[in-house]
């Protein structure tokens, strides 16, 4: 019984997938965080962790994390990456991530939430004592959204540590908690029962068995409450009371087969064999791989025998024998097929896994006898987690194969880029250096002119703005003046006057045009500034393009290291797959052999029953003919 309810509480923890915790969409500020959530909501936890890990790494590497959009979600992201790791069954890493949060200087509510998550990991890893000690460290403010979940976990941990009375106290107030309907009611019933309050426990399970809900999980728990209560009453010789609870179990739920079987036994215990025929007749028409159905195949003729319908009983025993024989053949071929390695090959078939009900579909594959009993194997937690690990490894294997192909392509790309750019770059660099020196010279000249214009605003220098023509004319006049000085007489005086007049004209021209020329020079400088800016942009663009060209093929030595890491990881994955696969095969074969032995026992019983029924039928017929 203890394992029975532990399985159930585990069911609750697993069912609360990441999808259940929704984030307010309008508050999302970082698209890459949103991308990680997108993967997580689909159950693609590897991709979610990879995305969020990268984001967190970049966030902590930037100089100002406050400017990174992830800072709006950093607390959430830290917890989410731990959750993703947990769902991806990386409990160690998840635990480490949460411990990192605990070691940081965080608020009391954040610390308490981290402890809650850590305790949940311990509990899931079947370490209830560690979970208990972790929960004891929670003090003070607890975030509202985890309050009920924390209390429920506390109750589960208490129960797992055998402290049922304490669990009762915790579970009591949780009966109206949203999202825990059925689960809290059922656990309270079990806790009461196990703490010695059987009567109150029974009443509580009765209440849990009547909970109304549309949720599949809650409905399954309701069925389980009724099945557990009914089976216990039957076990304690109260078949009349058991009947009511067993009848409450839905006919299509996961517990329906066991409930139908038990309902028949309740009627049989009351010696109402005709009533026992009803559930058992329904039961035997179901999938014969189910243990309850197999037992029903024996129970149904037993009821007919009790009703003195020996002929019918004999026929049903015969039919049961036939079914058991068929099932034994199936089990034998399943074992054979598993030993041939077909089981593992079938499990990783892509086309099967695309279907949501892939486990059911696998069972129905005509050419895959190794999977007939997969549903039954999946009932074992060890098998289920081993299978998940195997499928995870297969996913990793495929990724590594694909990445090796990617690396090949990347290296080809780098090679092509190198072959294209490397010969071009020396000539480009040479031409660039010439242009670069010319550009620097022009920039210096521009700065020089700008300096002069700036100085002229303070100290006017009209001569600086004389045109080239005016400068030539001034020089010519100066030359004529020098030659004229060498001459004597009236002609020299005439020349001097003319030179003075002409100089005066030029000076007049230069000085009167100064303001206009200064304005124009300033405007030209401004225009030149725009051209220089454009030139600088082009220069920067060239430098970036050149840098990008070089970076497109240089600095990729990491591909070699990655190639080695991928190869090593592939080797490890292959080795682990082989070991995990072998473990699955051993588990499956063990289970099938156990079932075969049970079916062989059933065969013996059926043979005995059939022989006995035939004898009695013959005796009854003889008695009838004598009468």
């Amino acid at each position: 019984m203890f394992r029975f309810f532990l399985c159930l509480t585990g069911l609750f923890v697993l069912s609360s997938s990441f999808a259940a915790s929704t984030h307010p969409r309008d508050s999302l500020r970082d698209p890459y965080f949103g991308e990680a959530l997108y993967y997580a909501y689909q159950g693609r936890y590897f991709d979610a962790i990879a995305r969020l890990d990268t984001e967190l790494g970049q966030h902590y590497a930037v100089d100002e994390p406050g400017l990174d959009p992830l800072h709006y979600h950093i607390g959430e992201a830290e917890f989410d990456v731990g959750d993703f790791e947990l769902y991806y069954r990386m409990h160690h890493r998840a635990g480490r991530a949460i411990k990192r949060v605990l070691q940081g200087n965080v608020a009391e509510s954040v610390r308490n939430e981290a402890i809650f998550r850590l305790a949940r990991i311990y509990f899931q890893k079947d370490q209830p004592v560690n979970a208990f000690h972790a929960l004891e460290q929670i003090h003070g403010e607890i975030p509202e959204r985890i309050r009920d979940d924390l209390a429920f976990l506390r109750a589960q941990v208490l129960m797992a540590n055998g402290r049922f009375r304490d669990a009762v106290k915790v579970l009591g107030p949780l009966q109206t908690a949203r999202g825990l309907e059925g689960f809290s009611a059922y656990n309270l019933g079990i806790a009461l029962w196990r703490s010695g309050q059987q009567e109150e426990g029974g009443r509580q399970l009765d209440r849990a068995g009547q909970i109304s809900s549309n949720e599949q999980g809650a409905l399954a728990i309701r069925d389980k409450s009724n099945l557990v209560l009914g089976s216990n009453l039957l076990e304690h010789h109260h078949p009349d009371l058991a009947r009511k609870y067993l009848e409450r179990v839905r006919l299509q739920g996961p517990y329906s087969n066991r409930a139908l079987l038990a309902a028949g036994w309740a009627e049989a215990a009351l010696e109402q064999y005709d009533r026992a025929l009803v559930p058992w007749t329904i039961l035997v028409k179901r999938n014969v791989t189910d243990e309850a159905v197999q037992e029903g195949l024996l129970a149904l003729p037993f009821a007919y025998r009790k009703l003195n319908a020996y002929g019918k009983a004999a026929l049903l025993y015969e039919s049961a024998l036939q079914s058991f024989g068929n099932e034994l053949d199936k089990l034998a071929s399943s074992i054979r097929s598993i030993r041939e390695g077909k089981f593992l090959r079938t499990l990783v078939r892509d086309e099967v896994k695309r279907d949501r009900d892939w486990v059911v579909k696998l069972r129905d594959l005509p050419e895959a006898p190794e999977t007939y009993y997969l549903m039954e194997l999946m009932a074992s937690h060890d098998f289920q987690s081993s299978l998940k690990n195997y499928l995870d490894l297969e996913e990793l294997r495929k990724k590594l194969v694909a990445w090796k192909g990617d690396l090949d392509a990347y290296e080809d790309l780098i090679k092509l880029r190198r072959a294209y750019y490397q010969p071009l770059l020396p000539d480009i660099d040479k031409a660039f250096r010439v242009l670069d020196s010319q550009m620097r010279l022009r920039l210096e000249q521009r700065d020089h002119v700008a300096g002069r214009i700036k100085a002229m605003l303070v100290t006017p220098r009209p001569d600086f703005l004389a045109t080239a023509n005016e400068r030539v004319m001034l020089q010519t006049l100066a030359q004529i003046e020098r030659q004229a000085k060498k001459q004597r007489g009236k002609a020299q005086e005439e020349v001097r006057k003319r030179i003075t007049r002409l100089k005066g004209v030029l000076h007049w021209q230069i000085y009167t045009a100064y303001d206009r020329r200064l304005t124009e020079a300033y405007k030209h400088l401004q225009a030149l500034g725009a051209v220089v800016e454009d030139l600088k942009k082009r220069y920067d663009s060239f430098v970036r393009t050149r840098q990008a060209a070089k970076q497109s093929y240089e600095g990729y030595e990491i591909t070699q290291r990655l190639r080695v890491r991928i190869r090593e990881a592939r080797e490890k994955v292959n080795a682990l797959m082989a070991r995990q696969g072998h473990m699955l095969e051993v588990m499956a074969i063990n289970e099938f052999e156990l079932r075969s032995r049970r079916l062989e026992e059933y065969q013996v019983k059926a043979r005995f029953g059939m022989a006995d029924s035939y004898d009695r039928a013959v005796q009854a017929q003889s008695a009838e003919s004598q009468n």
């Binding site: 909501y41 036994w265 060890d382």
Partner: protein
Amino acid sequence: MHRSALAVLFIVALATSVVSSAEEVSQEQIKGLDEQIQEIKSDVLGIAAKLSRLEEKLLYPSNSQISLFVSLAPDAKFRLDAVEIQIDGKPAARYLYAYKELEALRQGGVQRIYTGNVTRGEHELQVSVLGKSESGAEYRHTQSFKVNKDIGPRVVGITIAGADAGSQAISLNRW
């Protein structure tokens, strides 16, 4: 006697159904292997991170990188079937949504639908959405936007609100 024997058989069957059949597979073996699998998962995640950085540097350098993200408006009531995106008249992305993906978008997930390279400057982005309205009628809507690309990586958010949102049926947001 026979009845009680069968009843016991039933109860035993009930109890053994939850007992694992690990005669030759011990809990230590299961645990040990599980831990090694956790380690290799961690290793492969490390490789994934390095590859992701390599891919970004090699294929989508920041000066030309553009990433398009699709999200659903919180109150979107239509069923999204497909999204098609063109950049400067050339097909960039075309995506058909599976049930799980649609649910992930509805819950607030954001899908990176495209990462590529464009030159600096203005580009035309055309987004077409195909789906079904609340009434079941087919819904198709196309809208064009101008997107400017600068030196750094460009991230464009495309929010789809659907049939009842009028001019906001498809909108862009800069993250």
